[in-house]
Amino acid sequence: MRSDTTGSWTPVALSRDLPAGTVIPARIPAGPIALWRSESGCPTASANRCPHRGMSLSHGFVRGEALSCVYHGWSYAKAGNCLRIPAHPGLTPPEAIRVKTYAVEETGGVIWVAMGEPSSSPMKLEGLLALRSLTAHAGIAAIEAAAGAKAGPEGLVEPAEGTEAICLLLSAQENGETLIHVLLRGEAGPAARIAASRAAESLRRKAEDLQKKGIAQ
């Protein structure tokens, strides 16, 4: 994976895990973000901190096309500007009150967020179905070792043997944890999904064991 992440895409969540009108916490190399989808379906990645009193915006709520802070209800547009301060309904919020937002794209059922100006679109993930995400208490190196394959520049791992039906999309998190998005190749009936999910869980266990043993530091 790239070490310089400016301008590159991070796979932060699966599209299916972010229904319209909801907000979830996510993470990019710059830090935690509030990832939300407006009622009309548009995804936005906002810096996680409300500039008013520092409340985490991923605890907030989505109404219409805006994200509101749960503490005092200050609401923010997709562009990051503050739309409304409920304590002063007649006041037009000053331009200076805004949260940073990041570029977002959705491809193949995956939501990608970039810091800075990405020069290209995220990878297409053709022929892959986004199945589920899980968190491993293991670093990327341990997961690569468990999978017997290296991650590509955008975090895609295609495991070597026995698990050819799944691909993993990795994203480094806090405290040495890694977010794994499980992608399913080819036939995607219920039995294939269950098998892929179990394969991903056993791969996670293997990676966590390797991490514990200190094999992959």
Partner: protein
């Protein structure tokens, strides 16, 4: 860490009604302490290394200090007024700066969003202008003429009322709230927030009340306040950073935050910075 200016203050360390001779181990500004009573029932506070600490009992709580308090504990005259019920609410541990806990107590604009349908409700979100001052004679922060529409202002309230509030900050981690008393319009209910700093980013909050309410059971009064403070905790444990930023560039206040602005200014002026963050990080 700068605890110098705050070390000589009095802090709540437990409920007087729950003292026993075996004692209870707790923490004051990172130092382990034991809060107990002697054979005669007098409160006794001892530090981890066996040092006897200053102690007094007031407003239902035991108060102590790691330093040498030069002042009496702040007065609450209503604590001696006949006819009031005194409610020891107990304690809520919050993983936040003790100063953030006080600042949240001074804030009314969050009521519709955090204490929904109890202390506030949309669309009644507007905060009218109110008065804030630092009273130099007593060296306290005061906010007066604070008014807010509340669906269920107190256990003794029936239906929505516009409640009037006054806030006092007489010590860096304590606040006293005077609030419209539904059954007795000529009096104020008193609700306090006494905060025990365990560390710069961890505190025990001890609310205490002196109310005119002869109807509600003690259990219901305690449950009401605990509900409110647990709702506050969900906010306080998710503010970033945990310490209270005293750097004006770090957080943007609005007119509704004038009490908080005065509180931060007063803390800074006195170097009450245990639990504060001075420069943006």
């Amino acid at each position: 860490m700068t605890m110098q200016a705050m070390i000589d203050e009095w802090y709540p360390v437990g409920l007087f009604s729950q003292l026993d001779q075996a004692g209870r181990t707790t923490t004051l500004m990172e130092e382990p302490i034991i809060v107990a009573c002697d054979a005669d029932g007098h409160a006794k506070v001892t530090s981890g290394n066996g040092r006897t600490l200053p102690v007094l009992v007031r407003y239902g709580h035991v108060w102590s200090s790691l330093g040498e308090p030069r002042k009496e504990l702040f007065p609450i005259p209503e604590a001696d007024q006949p006819g009031r019920r005194f409610v020891d609410v107990g304690c809520v541990r919050v993983r936040c700066s003790p100063l953030r806990a006080v600042e949240n107590f001074l804030d009314i604009a969050h009521f519709p969003f955090v204490h929904t349908d109890i202390l506030g409700a949309e669309p009644h979100t507007e905060v009218q202008n109110y008065k804030v001052e630092i009273r130099e004679d007593v060296d306290e922060v005061w906010a007066t003429q604070v008014k807010f529409y509340q669906p269920l202002a107190a256990k003794s309230a029936s239906g929505g009322i516009t409640t009037e509030y006054m806030y006092r900050v007489p010590a860096p981690t304590c606040s006293v709230l005077y609030k419209t008393c539904p059954p007795r319009p000529s009096e104020w209910d008193v609700i306090t927030l006494f905060v025990q700093p365990l560390a710069e980013d961890l505190c025990d909050v001890w609310p205490w009340m002196a109310l005119f309410d002869d109807v509600t059971s003690m259990t219901d009064l305690i449950h009401f306040q605990q509900t409110i403070f647990l709702q506050d905790r969900s906010i306080l444990e998710n503010q970033i950073p945990r310490l209270l930023p005293l750097d004006p560039g770090m957080e943007i206040p609005t007119r509704a935050d004038l009490t908080s602005v005065a509180y931060r200014r007063w803390l800074k002026r006195h170097n009450y910075t245990y639990g504060a963050q001075l420069v943006a990080q």
